[in-house]
Structure formats: structure tokens, C-alpha cells
């Protein structure tokens, strides 16, 4: 027995342990569900908010790296195109897997902790920064019914959790045992705290108009109003968005958000050409990677919150024509089976026929491949259209993601264009211009509300 065990390779030993363990655990899970399934379900339903929170947090943490990868790829590609270069084009289609490869590369690098650094704080700093970025997405309404939590302090929660980034940056800067890191950390803390004030104040005017801090409600207020029968009552056009009711607030928010997300022209926190990444000087490997993940998640989050607050969230920019075109797959009966089996085949053949018949130099298998691809494109398009029309949340997600990634493009575009400002310019702009402007916006909004209220309800 011992000799047989010794002969196994290390993967063999791992499998030898894991497979029985998995089998036992699966059997146990099935038995537990069979015996106590109802009770567990009851407990889960009873604690639905907690379940929802855990589920949403897990989903967001899982979704964060892919979103960051997409944005990193966008940044590389778009800036390259703006520099008259081609950019990444080797790994994956149009180089789209390059950021994934970058992530793997970072994972393989040495994870170094400097001597006499505060190891615990040093390790937790990227976690705090990443968690602050990822968890602030909990309150974002992605689509009707598709949000982590909807509570009436959503906006406050967002700014509070987002402000935790500063703690993480200071932790990283302080624990590195390096005076330059410390200076970098303090510098980025100064920048982010300075811009947090106009950022928050510029939203107060909007909050006065909306009368709520719930992000979901704010989005609903910017959309169309339907009656019980599903007919459009009023609104639905993009002019209802808060960007048109709070233009100054929108402008201030956009500028302050750029600084908040450490994006060009306010990326002094990183400033790799001047201060070698500031607070992150001593970081390497995946801990450094997490700072950068957090930065790109932040770009997404900031774009998303701008979309939610000012650009109508998941609302389409025009009133959606109400179409009830519902196909119930169950209505086909046994025909559904034939449909699923035969339609791809027939579609492929029908679409391949023109290529084969009218282009004499196309071989039959090339024509078949072309037909199959064409069928997939058409079927995928039709299914997407069907989902868009029938499901509110699909349509909402399409518009929300479209607007958000439009803003991400804007951020990247700005990075491809604008040079970095100086630290004194950055600070004086925040305190001398943005803060008075946001206060002005707040006062004018409050005054307008009071005056309009007085005109509508004269004493």
C-alpha cells in the first residue's frame, strides 16, 4: 500500500485524494438537499437580503477581472489607434486576449515584500483598494431588477465605499517602508480627498431634484412613465436625463470623477513617468496587479455612476415602441424538437447554397463553413432581438452597458489626448474653481426649486 502510494506522481496523489473527496461531498450534498432541502430554502428565503448581498458581492468580484481585462484591452487598442499604430494584434482575435496574458504574466512574477515593511498592512492594502472599487458596484442598477441592493442610501453608500480607496492607498504608501511611497500615498490621498468634495457637492443639486438617494429611483425618474396597460404616459426622451437638468453639475461631476478615478489629465497618483507609480513603488507581482485591477474597475464604476446619475441609466434615449411579440417555446410541442434539430441544418444548407452555386471557385466545404457562420450571425441577431424586445432587463442592460462603455471610451480618449496637469494646478483647480462652482450649482438648484414651488402653490 505504502509502495503504491510512493509510486504515484504528485498530480496522481492529488487526484487520488480529490476524487473520493468530491464523490463523498457530492453525495452528501444530494442527501442534504433531499432531506432538508425545504428547510434550507425556507431559511434562505427568510434571509433573502443577506443571500442577495452575498450572491451579488460574489458575482461582482467574479465579474470584476473580466471587466478590467476588457477596459485594459480597450485602452491599449484605442490609444494605439489614436497614435496611428495598430496596437495589440497577436494574442486572440485582434489581440483581445493580450490583457489576459498580461494578467497571467503579473501572476507569475515574484511577489516581493521589502525588508522591514509592515507585512500585514502591505498585503491588505491592495485588497482594500480592490474591495472598495468592486463593492461600490453593489448599489448600481444595471437594468430593471438587475442590481445588488436597492436601498434609500445608495448614493451615500457608493461615495462612502468609494472613499475607502484612500485608506487602501495610504496603507500601501505607509507600509512600504519607503519615503517615496509614503509621499506618493499622501499625494494621492490629498488629490482624491480634494476632489471628493466637489464630486459629492455636485450631486447634491441632483439629489434635491430627485428627492431620494436611491440610485434605482433616480434612474426610474429619468425614464418613461407607463400606465397599468403598458401605454406611454409621458417622457421617455433623453431630454429627461439629469444631464440636461443639471448641466453644470454634470460637468463638475465628470471632471471630479476623472480625478477620483486617477485618470489623465489627473493621474498624478500613478504618474509612472515622474514618480514611478507613487504609492505602488514597492509593489510587485499580483499585489501590484490588484492596484491596477482596482484602477480599471474604478473607471468602469465611475462611468457607470455617471450613466446612472446623469445619463438615464438603463433607459433608452427614445420612447420604446411597445411591441408584444412573445413566442412561447412550449407552444410548439414536439415540433420544438424538430425545430432545434433541423433549423440549423437547413439554415446552413440554404445559406451555403448561394456561395456554392454562384461562385464557381468556392469549394463545397468552404461554402458550408460560410453558410454556418452566416446562419450563426443571423440566428444570434434574431435571438438577441427577441430577448431585447421581450425582456426589460436585456434591453436595459444593452443601453446601460452601451452608455457606460461610451464613457469608458471617453476616458480612454482623454488619456490619448491630454497631458498630465501639475500638482499645484490640480489642487488650485479643485479648490478655486470646482468647489465654488459646485456650491453655485447647489444654491441655484435650491433657489429654483423654492421659486418654482412658490409659483405653483401660491399662498
Amino acid at each position: 500500500m505504502a509502495r503504491t502510494w510512493d509510486r504515484l506522481t504528485i498530480p496522481g496523489k492529488a487526484l487520488f485524494v480529490l476524487i473520493p473527496l468530491l464523490a463523498v461531498l457530492t453525495a452528501g450534498l444530494i442527501i442534504t438537499i433531499a432531506l432538508f432541502g425545504q428547510q434550507i430554502l425556507d431559511i434562505l428565503i427568510f434571509n433573502l437580503p443577506i443571500v442577495r448581498f452575498v450572491l451579488a458581492a460574489t458575482v461582482l468580484l467574479l465579474l470584476a477581472p473580466p471587466i478590467a481585462f476588457v477596459i485594459i484591452y480597450m485602452e491599449m487598442k484605442i490609444i494605439a489607434l489614436m497614435n496611428l499604430r495598430i496596437g495589440p494584434d497577436r494574442v486572440g482575435p485582434w489581440g483581445s486576449l493580450l490583457s489576459t496574458v498580461h494578467g497571467l504574466k503579473v501572476l507569475m512574477k515574484e511577489d516581493f515584500t521589502p525588508t522591514r515593511a509592515d507585512a500585514v498592512v502591505f498585503t491588505w492594502a491592495p485588497v482594500v483598494v480592490f474591495a472598495a472599487a468592486a463593492l461600490s458596484a453593489l448599489v448600481l442598477p444595471f437594468a430593471p431588477g438587475l442590481y445588488g441592493q436597492d436601498f434609500n442610501l445608495g448614493l451615500l453608500y457608493f461615495f462612502a465605499i468609494g472613499g475607502m480607496t484612500v485608506v487602501g492607498l495610504l496603507m500601501g504608501g505607509w507600509s512600504s517602508f519607503n519615503k517615496y511611497s509614503l509621499l506618493g500615498g499622501l499625494r494621492s490621498a490629498a488629490q482624491i480627498i480634494s476632489y471628493e468634495i466637489p464630486l459629492t457637492l455636485s450631486v447634491v443639486g441632483l439629489v434635491l431634484l430627485a428627492g431620494t438617494l436611491s440610485l434605482n429611483t433616480i434612474v426610474v425618474q429619468q425614464g418613461a412613465v407607463y400606465d397599468a396597460a403598458g401605454n406611454l404616459v409621458r417622457g421617455g426622451w433623453f431630454l429627461d436625463w439629469y444631464a440636461f437638468r443639471q448641466p453644470l453639475g454634470f460637468l463638475i461631476f465628470a471632471i471630479a470623477a476623472t480625478a477620483e478615478a486617477n485618470r489623465t489629465p489627473f493621474d498624478l497618483t500613478e504618474a509612472d513617468s515622474e514618480i514611478v507609480a507613487g504609492f505602488a513603488t514597492e509593489y510587485s507581482g499580483m499585489r501590484f496587479g490588484f492596484f491596477f485591477f482596482a484602477e480599471y474597475i474604478n473607471v468602469f464604476i465611475i462611468s457607470a455612476i455617471t450613466t446612472v446619475l446623469f445619463l438615464g441609466g438603463w433607459n433608452a434615449p427614445f420612447p420604446a415602441p411597445h411591441i408584444s411579440w412573445i413566442i412561447n417555446p412550449g407552444a410548439f410541442g414536439i415540433g420544438l424538437l424538430f425545430l432545434v434539430a433541423l433549423v440549423p441544418l437547413i439554415g446552413t444548407l440554404v445559406l451555403a447554397a448561394p456561395f456554392y452555386l454562384f461562385r464557381s471557385n468556392t469549394r463545397w466545404w468552404v461554402a458550408l463553413i460560410l453558410g454556418f457562420l452566416l446562419f450563426n450571425v443571423i440566428a444570434g441577431g434574431l435571438i438577441t432581438l427577441w430577448a431585447y424586445i421581450n425582456f426589460d432587463w436585456v434591453a436595459g442592460l444593452v443601453w446601460f452597458m452601451g452608455k457606460t462603455f461610451g464613457l469608458v471610451f471617453l476616458f480612454v480618449w482623454m488619456r490619448g489626448t491630454l497631458p498630465r496637469v501639475r500638482i499645484d494646478q490640480l489642487m488650485s483647480f479643485a479648490w478655486k474653481w470646482l468647489l465654488p462652482a459646485s456650491l453655485l450649482n447647489l444654491f441655484v438648484t435650491a433657489l429654483a426649486i423654492v421659486v418654482i414651488d412658490a409659483l405653483r402653490h401660491p399662498r
Binding site: 489607434l81 489614436m82 497614435n83 496611428l84 499604430r85 495598430i86 480618449w413 482623454m414 489626448t417 491630454l418
Partner: protein
């Protein structure tokens, strides 16, 4: 415009953003080199380079064929002959002269030659001119001319070959090639008089010698360009 840009805040930013957006859609400057070879003229032959054989010796035999074939006469080459004795040169005189100018040499970091130094001993050209007159400056009778020259001087001085080239209109390289083809023509003074008399001895029966030579060359008496 400058007044306007001073008055409107953010106009410069808008201009810059517009520029990058135009660049975004503009054709790209990247050359996908290994997959897409660079677009060059059809006449392009790449960099001129002398090759070495497997023993590390230069393969170039200074035959000047490349220089003669060059359609735009851009090849300017110089070196020593196959036996490593004499300086030979091919190239447009003006280019050559330009490159040999003192300032050009200095700029390119080469040693500046001593202007007073003379490569080849000057010699009396009247003998040579008489020989050439005798053959009517006909380049088709090059071998006879060269043999007569060698008979007169004992060898073929570079200055003589230059003179022949000048008078007959044949290229220096051609004459050099012709001369280097035949073993009995030499480019250095003979070491003794017996050697010097060799050519004259062999030229005793000019016609039979040429006929034999022509037969060995496939009915083509040598020397024509």
C-alpha cells in the same frame, strides 16, 4: 482664432480631442513587417555586400561584373586584384573623385591619403600610342594590343591599361578582365629577362597561335569586349 481660444475655456481641449478622434479613424502607419514585406521599387536589390566563403576568404574576385551590370552605375568599388597585388577600381569618376576628396575622407573617418603619394610610376606614353595606332585603336583586337604592350614594357602597367581604355573606348574593367584571363599577360615587372622574352617568343607565329587560341575558345579569338 487666437482671441477666441483665449476667451472660450476648453477650446484647446476640444481641438485636441478632435485631432485624436481624426487620428483614430486615419490609416495607420504601422508596417506589419514579417508578414507584409516593405513596398520597394522593383529595381531595388537591397544592401550591397561582399560574401565570404566557408574558409573566411572574400568570394569577390574583383571581376567588376556587378559594377558593369549595374543599370544606374551606382556601384563604386575598388580593391586589389585576385593575386592581391594591384589596386583596381571601378566607378563613376566623379563619384570616385568626390569620395576621395580630403574632406570626404575625413568626414567618413578614414585615413586621409598623402596627396604627394603616387600610386603608379609614370612612364612614356609615346611607345604605347604607336602600338595603339598600329592596331587602329580597335578594341576588337585587344589581345594583340595587350600582347604588344607587354612586349614593349615587359608587363602591363596600370597606367598603360588606363591609356588603352582611354584611346579605344573599352572599359578599364573589360581590359583588365581580358588581361587577367590569359596566363601569359602579367601586371608586374618580370623578374628576369628570360621571362620577359617569353611573350615575344610565343608570338613568333601570330596567326597559328591565334588560330589555336580561337579553337580553344570556340572559334572566338579572344580580346573582344
Amino acid at each position: 482664432m487666437s482671441l477666441l481660444s483665449g476667451l472660450v475655456p476648453g477650446l484647446g481641449i476640444a481641438k485636441g480631442m478632435a485631432l485624436t478622434l481624426r487620428r483614430f479613424f486615419a490609416p495607420k502607419a504601422t508596417v506589419m513587417y514579417p508578414e507584409m514585406p516593405a513596398d520597394v521599387a522593383t529595381k531595388f536589390r537591397g544592401r550591397l555586400q561582399l560574401l565570404y566563403d566557408e574558409y573566411g576568404a572574400l568570394k569577390c574576385e574583383t571581376c567588376f561584373q556587378c559594377a558593369q551590370a549595374c543599370p544606374i552605375e551606382c556601384i563604386d568599388m575598388g580593391g586589389v586584384d585576385t593575386r592581391g597585388r594591384f589596386h583596381v577600381h571601378w566607378g563613376a569618376p566623379e563619384t570616385y573623385g568626390e569620395r576621395r576628396e580630403e574632406s570626404a575622407m575625413r568626414r567618413s573617418g578614414r585615413t586621409v591619403p598623402d596627396q604627394a603619394y603616387e600610386h603608379f610610376a609614370s612612364f612614356d606614353l609615346t611607345t604605347l600610342d604607336e602600338i595603339l595606332d598600329g592596331y587602329d585603336h580597335d578594341p576588337k583586337r585587344m589581345l594583340q594590343m595587350l600582347e604588344a604592350t607587354q612586349a614593349a614594357f615587359g608587363y602591363l602597367p596600370v597606367a598603360a591599361i588606363k591609356r588603352i581604355s582611354e584611346k579605344t573606348g573599352a572599359w578599364y574593367a573589360t581590359i583588365y578582365g581580358t588581361a587577367s584571363y590569359y596566363g601569359h599577360l602579367r601586371f608586374e615587372p618580370p623578374s628576369n629577362t628570360a621571362q620577359a622574352g617569353e611573350v615575344s617568343a610565343r608570338r613568333a607565329s601570330d596567326e597559328t597561335y591565334l588560330a589555336a587560341l580561337g579553337a580553344s575558345l570556340g572559334g572566338r579569338p579572344g580580346g573582344d569586349a
